[in-house]
């Protein structure tokens, strides 16, 4: 998943990342084909060069030697809502046919079965980024036809890429729903169909994709 995600990052892009896998994917891309990537953390660390892996997005290692330190208000105002994020890594427990994300709750909102972290910046990030990139294992509970709660909803002009451990799903810019777009070696369309909770359309651009680091890296 990391290698696949890294492959989608272009050089010269401004990428919003978090700690963990997103940060690792971006670092991977920086080390190979995208050395000019500008990393943005919603904590306000921009262009970080961490001396060690960050423990959280406010970790001093992300600010020491960074290009810029912004307040949270300014990151949201000028970079996120300003539409200056090319690709944003986001997290979610569920993603649905329309590319809407749920990271808020399973069960009724007022009396939750499972209370999840909530939006954080995801609502604004998904609204304004040119492309949102989700890393998620392909599991049935994560891909319902309709999310339990709409935490973030991509606008029509935005692209949504969902990099899973078996395939890449995509809602194209201007598109109306999520489609099967890349299939890793050894995975069949039927394998994906069996998991996704709606009749999954196949993109006219569907291709096989070789994932360098292996599908479980």
């Amino acid at each position: 998943m990391l290698t696949a995600a890294a492959g989608f990052l272009g050089n010269n892009e401004t990428v919003l990342v978090g700690v963990g896998m997103p940060g690792q994917a971006a670092t991977l891309a920086q080390g190979s084909h995208a050395p000019e990537l500008t990393l943005v953390y919603e904590s306000g660390a921009i262009g970080s060069r961490p001396a060690r892996p960050p423990l959280s997005i406010g970790d001093p290692t992300l600010f020491a030697g960074a290009l810029q330190s912004l307040s949270v208000a300014d990151v949201f105002t000028f970079l996120i809502e300003g539409g200056r994020i090319d690709t944003a890594f986001v997290g979610a427990a569920e993603i649905d046919r329309l590319g809407r994300l749920n990271s808020t709750v399973i069960g009724p909102y007022e009396s939750p079965k499972v209370r999840l972290p909530g939006s954080g910046g995801a609502c604004e990030i998904v609204q304004y980024a040119k492309r949102s990139l989700l890393l998620s294992p392909l599991q049935e509970r994560r891909f319902p036809a309709e999310v339990n709660f709409v935490t973030s909803a991509p606008p029509e002009r935005a692209e949504i890429l969902i990099v899973t451990d078996q395939c890449v799903l995509r809602r194209a810019p201007g598109g109306d729903e999520v489609e099967l777009w890349r299939l890793y070696e050894g995975v069949e369309v039927a394998d994906v169909d069996a998991v996704v909770g709606w009749p999954l359309r196949t993109s006219p651009e569907l291709e096989r994709m070789e994932v360098g680091g292996g599908i479980d890296d």
């Binding site: 904590s43 330190s69 208000a73 939006s119 954080g120 609502c123």
Partner: protein, 308 residues
């Protein structure tokens, strides 16, 4: 004008039962010492406001001092869940009001500038709109259709932990400045706890680094290591081991209570806490030297002559 106080005095005087409180710090410079002092003084029925409740509010909620939580992201950063808060929410033991980061920071900014609302367009597309009465819509008079707006969020009090403050309450912070300015300016009153109290002249050498003015601060308390177990840039690292231990301890109500009994109620203040953890704190404090470069603020003092 800011008055010097001990942390315990400042909390006793300014944190009122039933009031709303914002302890700042976006995973950095989190005011743990103040939170522990509030728990120790059993100041209850609080409304706790923070973008990221973090372990600090998980502890306060485990301690039972809060009746309401206002937040935009529930997580133990880099570790996982906040068990005490999840238990309280899933068990219906606490009221909560939920925002997104962008709209909560906008709501603070609206409060800070006395505006009746702030537009927060992105929220319009979410289900959160239905669950928080602090959101509403207005018709864009310039033809853009219906737009979501957020009402101001104005804490009664902000408690702000910073790297340094001068004797008048003027504050400088570097590295992550997070939510500090917006929360402090939104609040009616501000307590500053600081790693160091420095001379005004040191701040005046670099006015661009000053985050808050003493004129807007009620009380200053010297409180070294007050952000432990979180970080202070250039001073100490996060105690990540503790963040993980808390995740484990707090997975039961009993575990959380045992911690609080031992390290909060069982100690008579922050000094005892630092003494207890001395060795660990000394490890965390081993930070390298990475000085900011300087710039020249010099002026042409003779310009009054030059210009004639």
């Amino acid at each position: 004008m800011a008055e010097r106080a001990t942390l315990s005095e400042a909390v006793a005087e300014l944190v009122e039962p039933g009031s709303s409180l914002y302890i700042t710090g976006f995973t950095h410079l989190i005011g743990f010492a103040a939170a522990h002092e509030i728990i120790r003084q059993k100041i209850e029925d609080l409304t706790l406001i923070r973008l990221t409740p973090d372990v600090v509010y998980d502890q306060m909620i485990a301690a039972g001092v809060a009746s309401r939580l206002v937040f935009s992201y529930l997580g133990n950063p880099g570790v996982g869940n906040l068990h005490a808060i999840r238990r309280a929410i899933e068990g219906g033991e606490i009221e909560w009001t939920e925002y997104t980061h962008g709209s909560l920071i906008a709501a603070l900014r609206a409060a800070a500038s006395n505006l009746p609302f702030a537009p927060v367009e992105a929220v319009g597309a979410t289900d959160l709109m239905k669950h928080n009465p602090g959101y509403a819509t207005v018709e864009d008079p310039f033809g853009g259709g219906e737009i979501a707006v957020v009402a101001p969020v104005r804490p009664d009090l902000a408690i702000v932990h910073v790297q340094r403050v001068d004797q008048h309450g003027n504050v400088q912070v570097w590295g992550s400045t997070g939510d500090i300015r917006e929360a402090a300016m939104a609040a009616d009153r501000v307590i500053v706890t600081a790693e160091e109290i420095v001379d005004e002249a040191e701040l005046r050498s670099d006015p661009n680094r000053t985050l808050l003015l003493g004129a807007n601060v009620e009380a200053i308390a010297l409180a070294p290591m007050a952000a432990h177990p979180s970080y202070a840039q250039g001073m100490y690292a996060r105690d990540n081991r503790f963040y993980r231990e808390w995740a484990e301890m707090s997975s039961t109500a009993e575990g959380a209570r045992a911690y609080l009994d031992r390290e909060v109620h069982g100690l008579d203040g922050r000094e005892a806490y630092c003494e207890l953890h001395r060795e660990r704190l000394n490890e965390l404090k081993r930070v390298g030297d990475q000085p900011a470069g300087t710039v020249n603020f010099g002026i042409n003092a003779a310009i009054a002559d030059v210009q004639e």
